[in-house]
């Protein structure tokens, strides 16, 4: 969100002055046309702002994890707008506070896969030949193991704490990133300015990361956005299998999965964390779709 905001501001300013930086401005203009994407961006901004405010307003020890037996399983009321869970904890506060867990699981996981997959893809795309072959074939291998299973294997092997969870969710989408990055690099690498850089004596590494990478960011960014959503969903699936963020952290996925035995009588216990996940993931996906449309020159009217 922050990134886009920065982009907007700078691009608006730039366009006013010099009408330069037209590519970014163009993307933003296209993005704005897409109503779904704008909605998604608005919703996500609200969620992020809430999670930041929640950090200052809510006390973790007394309001989030403290168990209050007399107040357990209370239906939504003025006192507890979203009700309380089986431990007597307020669900609204937990959801507000928990947004950071879900968002950070999604974001960190994707950063992991972006860091590994992106680099692998760039190297493969730029080097070509046998290195490309090795990298892409090993991606094929990883891609053929179902993502969730890979995540399960890793969490069982290294223990289920939040960091391992993030990594294991991320590793599963490494091949996808590698493929996207490679494809993007291949469209750029034969351009003249690369030749020029090479002629000027730039090293391979320098060319790869200062000339090629910035010019193929678009598809990678789109991929990144969309994967954040699916990482949040995968994390909640792991919770369902008992391997998610350890209690008592109010991560939405683990709230949803803990609430599932209460789904018939106390459906609000799953309803609210479930909706929180749905809304967030939906917003992220809408932004991703909007970005992709905005960046794809083929789709211009």
């Amino acid at each position: 969100m922050d990134k886009t905001n920065v982009v907007t501001k700078s691009s608006v300013a730039a366009s006013r002055k010099y009408k330069k930086n037209s590519q970014l401005y163009e993307i933003w203009r296209n993005f704005r046309k897409n109503k779904g994407a704008v909605l998604g961006l608005t919703v996500l901004s609200i969620i992020i702002i809430t999670s930041i405010i929640a950090n200052f307003v809510i006390d973790y020890e007394t309001q989030i994890i403290r168990q209050v037996v007399p107040e357990r399983l209370q239906r939504p009321s003025w006192k507890h707008p979203f009700g309380t869970d089986q431990y007597g904890r307020d669900i609204l506060l937990r959801i507000l506070y928990g947004s950071r867990y879900s968002l950070s699981v999604g974001i960190v996981a994707v950063m992991v896969s972006l860091a590994i997959g992106g680099v692998m893809g760039v190297i493969a795309g730029y080097m070509g030949g046998i290195i490309e072959n090795i990298i892409m074939r090993s991606c094929d291998v990883f891609a053929s193991i179902p993502a969730l299973l890979l995540a399960i294997c890793i969490t069982t092997a290294f223990g289920a704490n939040t960091l391992i969870l993030m990594i294991s969710v991320g590793v599963a989408s490494v091949p996808a990133f590698a493929r996207v990055a490679r494809a993007a690099v291949m469209t750029v690498r034969d351009n003249e300015y690369i030749e020029a850089a090479r002629a000027a004596g730039a090293t391979r590494m320098r060319i790869m990361f200062t000339h090629i990478l910035p010019n193929c960011m678009a598809p990678i960014m789109v991929q990144t956005t969309m994967r954040v959503g699916s990482a949040i969903i995968t994390a909640s699936s792991l919770s369902f299998l008992g391997l998610g963020v350890p209690p008592p952290a109010p991560e939405w996925g683990s709230m949803l999965s803990e609430g599932r035995s209460f789904i018939r009588d106390y459906s609000y216990m799953t309803m609210f964390p479930g909706l929180a996940i749905v809304i967030t993931v939906l917003a992220i996906n809408l932004i991703g779709d909007g970005l992709r449309d905005a960046m794809d020159p083929k789709l211009k009217r």
């Binding site: 168990q67 069982t156 008992g242 391997l243 350890p246 008592p248 035995s261």
Partner: protein, 549 residues
């Protein structure tokens, strides 16, 4: 335009779906919406149906349909049972899983059997038995008993079973006190023991000690021979992870049973399991979600059995790990635990608080003085031990719903006295490996149901220096001596005295803190007849039937 309509329609469907989902809770709970605390109260007061109290604390809500039977009665062909855990193997002498053991009681017979309704040992494949001396038992075998492969059950099968079992992983601990099996004649055997073993008769009732066919093992490959028993049902088909089908054995020595086929069905998700019972897809649902039990109780077509299980839920403190090697710290933990709250949260009130290492079903159970809930005292003890500001530690739990919930409650309760606990929720293999004797975990949530095969097994496994599950790593000479002495003492009073002293000693030691006796909840169709109390966690399903209308 058509597209517009289609889209509108889809939108409508989606919205209705979301709304239905939203309403589903509030609708269904209209009746019980006033109750916020324990559900058992709700269950007993709001239900108009008779609540029959059977002995040993079993509550049956709802009434089985009365049936009249004569020679023309037609019985329902198939009955489906959905246990909570999957069936894993037919390898009788090596299997430890509870569901498999329920199945073994259908397919096999023991020499003697445990009558759970009356808490006594009754005749099985042995018609009578007698203890000739401290170390010699004689069994007279039933005649005319046939195995599923057609061979006769005789003394050589008993000898074969016991001798084979001594080398098999799960049966070994039950047969290891038997030195020799002496065949007196075809239908008489004597068991010669290495040392006096007061519990041998209990051990012979266990699922791992059922009688196998020596003929089958001589003629068939092992995995086929493992399926041959003398029981009322024989193995039919097993699709792993889906179902196991058992077919009636027509030559059963007690006479063929009424139901033709029993299917054990694996439904992993508890909510789905209960719904399958309500929609009539299965006949018996074991352990529906605790919070949903009232659906069974309120339904006229269903009957709910709430049976105290043999499982004692407890936490163990590892004596090898700082600071739990300090008795004061252990006592502080014991004083910090509020069992009532724990039971309300974890079991929705459907469990009994427990304060002893011995189960109440044991004849040697005595009331002991257990550290009571007293956070002030707990804090004082912590301070005395040198931790006035508490400390950080970790609790291991398996990833099961109950275990995880127990860990969460313990975490919160220990937090109140200043101990910061981190939860490690692990799947079974990691958990078992982590808490194995010699392990380095600090606290663990565990369960122990070893009371069905006698008091010795109940206390030896977790507390003897070389007990199989001595997970708290207790190495106490006094405890070892008392356990050994109790096993070989033939004087009943003497034995009871030792066990009473031992129970109080172990509770004072606070390395194994009992929390609750869990409850087995079974929902079944009201037409179902012949359901009996389970032995331990293993259900007795031999006589179930439904009369076809």
């Amino acid at each position: 335009m058509n597209n517009k309509k289609a889209l509108a329609l889809i939108l409508c469907i989606c919205l209705t779906f979301v709304f239905l989902a939203g309403c589903s809770g509030s609708q269904s709970t209209g009746a019980g919406s006033t109750s916020t605390g324990s559900d058992t109260n709700n269950l007993e007061t709001s239900s108009e149906k008779p609540v029959t109290e059977i002995k040993k604390g079993v509550i049956v809500t709802g009434k089985a349909v009365d049936v009249k039977e004569d020679e023309n009665t037609v019985y329902q062909k198939r009955i489906t049972i959905a246990p909570a855990l999957d069936f894993t193997s037919m390898d009788v002498q090596n299997e430890a899983g509870g569901t498999a053991k329920s199945v073994f009681f259908l397919v096999f017979n023991n020499l003697v059997e445990y009558d759970t309704m009356n808490s006594k040992i009754v005749s099985g494949l042995a018609e009578s038995w007698e203890q000739i001396s401290d170390t010699l038992w004689e069994f007279k075998l039933r005649q005319g008993v046939k195995f599923h492969d057609g061979s006769d059950f005789t003394a050589k099968d008993v000898k074969f079973t016991i001798e084979r079992g001594k080398n098999q992983s799960a049966a070994k601990s039950k047969f290891n006190t038997i030195e020799e099996v002496i065949i007196v004649d075809d239908y008489t055997v004597q068991l010669k023991l290495t040392a006096p073993d007061n519990d041998i008769i209990y051990k012979l009732c266990e699922a791992n000690t059922v009688m196998l066919s020596s003929n089958a093992f001589a003629t068939l490959p092992e995995e086929e021979a493992n399926k041959i028993g003398t029981g009322p049902y024989k193995y039919n088909e097993w699709v792993q992870g889906d179902y196991l089908s058992l077919i009636r054995f027509d030559d059963y020595w007690e006479g063929a049973k009424k139901t033709e086929e029993i299917v054990i069905r694996h439904i992993p998700e508890a909510s789905s399991r209960l719904i399958a019972l309500q929609t009539g897809e299965i006949e018996i649902c074991i352990d529906p979600p605790a919070v949903d039990l009232h659906y069974v109780a309120e339904d006229k077509n269903l009957v709910l059995w709430q049976i105290p299980s043999t499982n004692i839920r407890h936490i163990i403190l590892n004596l090898n790990v700082e600071p739990f090697n300090n008795k004061l710290v252990r006592q502080a933990v014991a004083h910090a635990i509020n069992r009532e709250d724990l039971i309300a949260i974890v079991y929705e009130g459907n469990a009994t608080p427990h304060y002893n290492v011995m189960h109440t079903i044991s004849e040697f159970y005595v009331d002991v003085d257990c550290p009571e809930f007293n956070p002030e005292k707990a804090k004082a003890l912590l301070a005395e031990a040198g931790y006035p500001n508490g400390f950080k530690t970790t609790i291991y739990s398996s990833s099961g719903t109950v275990q995880k919930a127990v860990a969460s409650v313990i975490q919160a309760q220990l937090k109140e006295i200043g101990i910061d606990v981190e939860i490690q929720s692990l799947e079974t293999a990691t958990f078992n490996a982590g808490v194995a004797p010699g392990g380095t975990y600090p606290i663990a949530v565990d369960g122990w149901g070893g009371h069905t095969i006698g008091p010795d097994n109940a206390l030896r496994s977790p507390f003897h220096s070389d007990g199989n599950i001595n997970r708290s790593n207790i190495k106490d000479k006094k405890v070892d001596e008392m356990i050994d002495a109790a096993l070989s003492t033939s004087n009943y009073e003497e034995r009871a005295k030792i066990y009473a002293e031992l129970q109080q000693y172990l509770i004072n030691n606070c390395n194994w803190i009992p929390l609750a006796i869990e409850q087995i909840n079974v929902g079944m169709k009201a037409e179902l007849q012949g359901f009996e109390l389970p032995l331990g966690l293993h259900h007795h399903l031999r006589n179930i039937y439904i009369v076809e209308k």
